[in-house]
Symmetry: C2
Subunit: 477 residues, 2 copies
């Protein structure tokens, strides 16, 4: 039994040291590993399978809205990156530079894309001529590089995987509509598939994307009360179009600048899944994103018929993602391992269950055990997976709501941030000085100005001047 427990015992408790708990789960659930290249990660099969499911689901939702996938080059010539002033200022300090190709120095150095606005703009400038060429609703799945100083698996690494959508439209209205549409798509995906509730809103000018007119964001709350920016959607207006000269002939033959957007979601969402749903036994995966939804563990596997029955159950569960654990490990070890890996439902089947024509279903999220008849195990599993998906979202929402506070003066704001990890809702006058001051005092940043505004008071929580917006604040990953 000592051996059976080893896997679990080696995890730090999340209440003792959340950061260490996170690292332990990443490692013990075999999601990713550090690479020899500082700040880069190896995404292992269990982690990559989650990313593949995220890709499959997002990609199909994208395509339903008319998105087409493309692939742009990995490299951006320095002169191209420099074309939009705000953009280059935002990204140049954190890009990797290629200076040699083969044995020869390059005439112009190339950066490894940190994001691809400039490449899409360069392409659109050549490819868009007439209103008939619009809209362009392109997306790519790729990796990007940002030379971060401190890194954490999935949350912040020098290379990460993502998708980046880049669109061009005839009118400002259409661009704004697409920006909001994609933000809502991300939000629905997070809630419906990842069981992660989000706050939808707009970034302040200080926090918006380099080069954007407006950045919209979804913000989620991790178990430790820290916020995570989970997806962003940017409206560029015609700023990039003017910098890159992307014009089209309108129906009346006048030359017009296009209006652009971009939007992205990354592998950091795997970090969000871990930190929203995980517990001291390891990962807890929502059924809709779990690479394995059901693991069947035969108990007393050596007894006649047990293993056959396990595979019979697997056959009965076709349509779900099911594995039979028929390795020579002990059942106790298998139980721990399936919990560590976050598999939503475990089916235990042994000789006694067989006599009763039953099996035991164990919920990963609540540890609840449910004895069911083998005659209708498929219906029971289906029902249970739906219940788990639903309950995980509600549990995460309840946690988020219980850790969302209101502050109407600066003292209580500082006190809340320091003593009650979570979101703080507070009014703001709209000036950056107050944002800067709050960050300096508390290390909390403005997460977003939520679409659902509330009038908590009429004064800025920081300076006391008239408030213009309610803002979600919080310390963030």
């Amino acid at each position: 039994m000592a051996k059976d427990k080893k896997l679990v015992e080696s995890i730090t408790s999340m209440d003792v040291d959340f950061a260490q708990w996170y690292t332990d789960v990443v490692k013990k659930a075999e999601l990713c590993d550090y690479a020899s290249v500082k700040g880069c990660m190896v995404i292992k099969p269990a982690g990559y399978a989650i990313w593949e499911n995220i890709q499959k689901e997002l990609d199909s939702r994208f395509k339903e809205t008319g998105v087409e996938n493309v692939y742009m080059p990995l490299f951006i010539p320095e002169s191209l990156l420099e074309k939009e002033k705000d953009h280059v200022e935002g990204f140049a300090p954190e890009v990797a530079w290629v200076t040699h190709g083969g044995l020869d120095p390059l005439q112009e150095r190339l950066c490894v894309r940190p994001t691809s606005e400039t490449l899409f703009c360069d392409f659109y400038a050549k490819d868009i001529h007439s209103y008939r060429d619009l809209p362009k609703v392109y997306n790519q799945w790729c990796s990007v590089v940002r030379w971060e100083k401190t890194t954490r698996p999935f949350l912040r690494s020098r290379e990460f995987l993502w998708q980046e959508g880049h669109t061009a439209h005839a009118t400002a209205e259409e661009a704004e509509e697409r920006t909001i549409q994609m933000l809502n798509l991300y939000a629905d995906f997070c809630e419906e598939v990842l069981a992660i509730p989000v706050v939808r809103g707009q970034k302040t000018d200080k926090e918006k994307f380099a080069g954007a007119e407006a950045t919209y964001t979804i913000e989620s709350l991790m178990h430790d009360g820290k916020a995570l920016q989970s997806g962003t959607s940017h409206n560029f207006g015609d700023g990039f179009a003017r910098a890159f000269d992307i014009q089209y002939a309108a129906k009346d033959n006048s030359l017009q600048y296009v209006h652009q957007t971009s939007w992205g979601m990354t592998t950091r969402m795997i970090g969000a899944i871990i930190m929203v749903h995980g517990d001291d036994n390891g990962l807890v995966l929502p059924p809709r994103i779990a690479p394995t939804q059901v693991v069947i563990v035969p108990v007393q596997m050596q007894k006649e018929g047990v293993l056959d029955k396990a595979f019979e159950i697997k056959a009965a569960l076709k349509g779900f993602k099911v594995k039979v654990d028929d390795t020579d490990k002990s059942p106790g070890w298998k139980f721990s391992e399936s919990e560590m890996r976050g598999i939503p439902v475990r089916v235990e089947i042994g000789p006694r269950d067989m006599v009763n024509n039953e099996a035991v279903l164990v919920r990963r999220d609540t540890h609840e055990k449910i004895t069911v008849s083998l005659d209708n195990i498929a219906e029971e599993v289906e029902k249970l997976l739906d219940t788990i998906q639903h309950d995980m979202l509600e549990k995460a929402r309840a946690h988020r709501d219980a850790h969302t506070y209101v502050a109407t003066d600066l003292d209580s704001f500082v006190d809340t941030v320091n003593n009650k990890p979570g979101f703080v809702k507070a009014m703001w006058c709209g000036c950056q000085e107050c944002e800067d001051k709050i960050k300096e005092l508390t290390a909390a940043t403005s997460r977003c100005m939520p679409f659902e505004q509330e009038q908590l008071s009429d004064k800025c929580v920081c300076c006391g001047k008239p408030a213009t917006k309610m803002v979600y604040w919080g310390r963030a990953y």
Copy 2:
């Protein structure tokens, strides 16, 4: 009508200038475009959709054999690349080097992966301890960079997309088995899905992969008689394991080196599809890889009921990938465009067809027109797509066979290569001097030593010494 034909007329005939024809098709079918970064390409929606279908089909075939997907870093530290002597010699002259991260020079320069053997080895050295950890059958989908001097869209570019499988096994036999298994998987995929017949065989030592013990290849023949290496599978033996110290404890507790393989297929297969199947009207796509299998073109679209009928037909064809072209272009333009894009079947429906309860199906590969009743159009389309898929493979095979020659002496060998583009089968003594001499004389290289050997003569076609192998030779892309 002049306008209708413009799209087609602007393509160079393949018999006049095959290289220009290829470039024209790539451009007019909107598969890809040159990027601002020299030698890199933008893969446009029509090209990327083909790649997505290749990925989907290959990935599912991989997974059926137990392959798991992972993701390794984009960068390789110089010291890591240098660990295996042959490998670094093969790749160092053609890699891109990152020397700066943000504003600071790097302590050690990093190359952008040209292939990831060294990264997988570095990971396996840390991750493999016992025979229980074997086999590792990992794959990744990513882009790689090789600083080529001359480039052509899809066929040779500085960055391309591919998958690279990397496996580690307990025994030499198991590694060899996996190497051959993956080669056969590639061959079956090419023939069954891309309708491209291939020759399966082994590369000579001169042509094998840098660091491999044996390289297996599938070679296909393009319409112009030039060969294209279409997929390779390498057996590394324990060479990399020794260089990277990848050892495992065997059942008897002895320490053993693992045996490794790698295998890859790339976006150059899109070039192969173009050059094997295309004609003077543009691209011709095999139904199983076509992003759109059927285009429905309403004729006299303004007449009442025509457009409705077109969408009715689309609804009847559910299960296929179907588009209705309801743009305001003329039918003639739409016909040309659907041919340029290579859509396997065109359905023409107009008022007269409706009176007769009929539609006209037009095959892209043969231009044959078939009138069918609307009552059983789904069955007819299904049958026709199967026929096209079958016929395209047979046509390509007949072309390949008609352009495969035999030479038993050097004069006829040189004459054949110079005057009859295609494969030349000839006996070889096994020494590199003869390979070098043949290449110098004819620019033809040894493509492979096919698994299906024939005894054409008992003397080397070049030096006249005793022959050991029959070899396929040819000029290649």
